[in-house]
Symmetry: C2
Subunit: 365 residues, 2 copies
């Protein structure tokens, strides 16, 4: 690498050490802030099981084991905080020592991703921390310059988080910001591995996270890897969250028959709990090698038709506030936006966000 992150950290550490000469010792002491689940945003429930997971304990045994196990991952949760500390350190622990996947970086599966607000108030990428193992202790995350005070730290996408602490200089201001965008209720995203964030290079690049930054709205990521299949209990779960909008993007895990059987009752059940909240139905993306696989294209077309039929039937039955997003723009048309035909790279995640953004803006009004 030309200038690896570790090298960079080393350089900046050295500069920090020089800058510290002459300061009182107390200035350099690190104070550790233990992060509790209720400090995080992007959560549908105050109490979850496990504590940094995404589902309430009562759901165990009522959702499928696939949904439950994927619900243990920390995907989509983030910490908004304010500090004037000239140094940020992190300690975190993970449920699994399998840090990466063949099609996903360790940074994305198990790392932490830091954004900061620029002078215009816009959240921009600032630093990343790949895991050093199942436990990563006292890692320097960043040395923010004066004036950089507002941060958002995204949690690992495909691992359980069991412990998180942020280290600041002991004389620095420290505040967890729990209600930054709370003028609006969150957007709830329900979907597949793509929704959960596979294969974003780092947690902030899952498309729901990109959309949260763009729209300035809290986002709740209920992506359940291969297990999003519109079971009725999931409609009940989604309906428990007071949302400003729901995005239902479960098609990649469902076969055409399941869509035909489940889509209408799923939306009716959610609508019954949330009388007016806009609901978006999203077609599954085409595989990026569908151009060469006519059989897969036919299957996908059948599935899309089933969702279109469900949408039409729901509208005809008088259910309002429904929106629809077609598959054509989700991954673009150049076959390059996924790592394995299915899972978007950061290129694909950006295209997903581009496709979602206008319809979500319309839904939020």
């Amino acid at each position: 690498m030309n200038l690896s992150r570790r090298t960079f950290v080393g350089v900046v550490l050295a500069a920090g050490a020089r800058g510290a000469v002459g300061r009182a010792d107390t200035d350099d002491r690190i104070e550790w802030h233990t992060i509790k689940p209720h400090d995080l945003r992007g959560r549908g429930w105050a109490e979850t099981s496990p504590e940094f997971g995404r589902l309430p304990g009562w759901a165990q045994g009522r959702v499928t084991s696939g949904v439950w196990n994927n619900g243990r991952c920390a995907a989509g949760q983030y910490l908004d905080f304010t500090t004037d500390s000239p140094e940020l350190r992190v300690t975190w622990a993970l449920g699994s020592g399998e840090l990466g996947m063949w099609h996903m970086t360790e940074a994305g599966k198990s790392g932490l991703d830091l954004y900061a607000r620029d002078q215009m108030g816009r959240l921009r990428w600032y630093a990343v921390a790949g895991p050093g193992g199942q436990q990563t202790r006292d890692r320097v995350l960043a040395r923010p310059p004066t004036g950089l005070n507002h941060f958002r730290l995204y949690m690992p996408l495909y691992n359980e988080l069991t412990e998180l602490s942020i280290g600041t200089r002991s004389n620095a201001r420290w505040e967890v910001a729990r209600h930054d965008d709370a003028k609006r209720r969150p957007i709830v995203f329900y979907g597949s591995s793509i929704m959960q964030g596979c294969s974003a290079s780092r947690p902030g690049m899952a498309f729901a996270a990109i959309l949260g930054r763009r729209l300035g709205v809290e986002t709740i990521n209920l992506g359940f890897s291969g297990s999003a299949k519109m079971e009725p209990v999931l409609a009940d779960l989604l309906g428990e969250i007071e949302a400003s909008a729901y995005a239902i993007d479960a098609m990649p895990n469902m076969n055409p028959n399941q869509v035909r059987e489940r889509a209408v009752p799923f939306v009716e059940r959610l609508r019954a709990k949330r009388g007016e909240t806009p609901i978006l139905l999203v077609e599954g993306r085409a595989f990026t090698n569908a151009w060469a696989e006519p059989g897969r294209s036919r299957y996908a077309a059948e599935r899309r038709a089933a969702l279109q039929d469900a949408y039409d039937a729901l509208v005809k039955s008088g259910i309002g506030g429904l929106h629809y997003l077609t598959s054509d723009r989700l991954l673009g048309d150049d076959s390059e936006a996924a790592i394995d035909g299915s899972h978007p790279t950061d290129l694909g995640m950006m295209r997903y966000a581009d496709a979602y953004e206008p319809v979500l803006r319309k839904m939020l009004g």
Copy 2:
């Protein structure tokens, strides 16, 4: 994952097994084609050390150890082949068992990436194979439908390749295409880790590979991770290759003084060997968190100014065929296109290709 690659392979294998019922046994036998270095394209020298590396043996001890060690990686090499086999298998072995990096997938560092020509003759992504270990044996890579006959397979970006075999059905046509785009001499790309392909998600997404597909020209990737510093011997090495264009993109590894000292003699030395071949000088990209790090921005600005001065001095001295690419579009302006501030994700690689493409088209005439 909603539909993992392994699941997909399983599904297709099952379909293939059903389809094979009633066929003669001979149809299903696999013939293995051992790939030799001279079968590959994207090589500057017929003989390299190691045999799937990127530098000639005489360079050892004359280039820095960093250049030499990175030159062992297979980056940028690819196999163009033609077959009507309804099944493609791969066996490959790697120099290192470190399959991924915290900021790079195993597929990108150590995997194989397959493109195929569509009916318009355009190379489009088709399949990928992540490594199963230092050795991956008899992996089904794809089950191409009838009519899909022309393929390009990219080699691992950040690992040494020590063995490669392609398996086809024993009655299938098989031909290595060594001169597909040979109407034009190759473009030689010299640069840093970014050039070598860090952190592309898969080998075909290194930006030089993207450009080779877009321009229909053979590309030779001489990216040497952190070790591209415009040493005179590198100008000699580049000058040995009969190229249609040279792209010099070593800035991320150099400090401003090195640029001031080396850029002019480097180009003069290359120009002396290659009297008319167009040469492109590329400014280093800004770090994607440069917005928050004024110190790094000043350093980068000083380095850019040094390259601009070198370009001006070279033009003034009468050296023709020089081109220049500024840094501003390489990673875009939204801070999202790198994993760690420096290394482009696929989003960044696509932006690099977008920035390079028009100037390379102009250079090729």
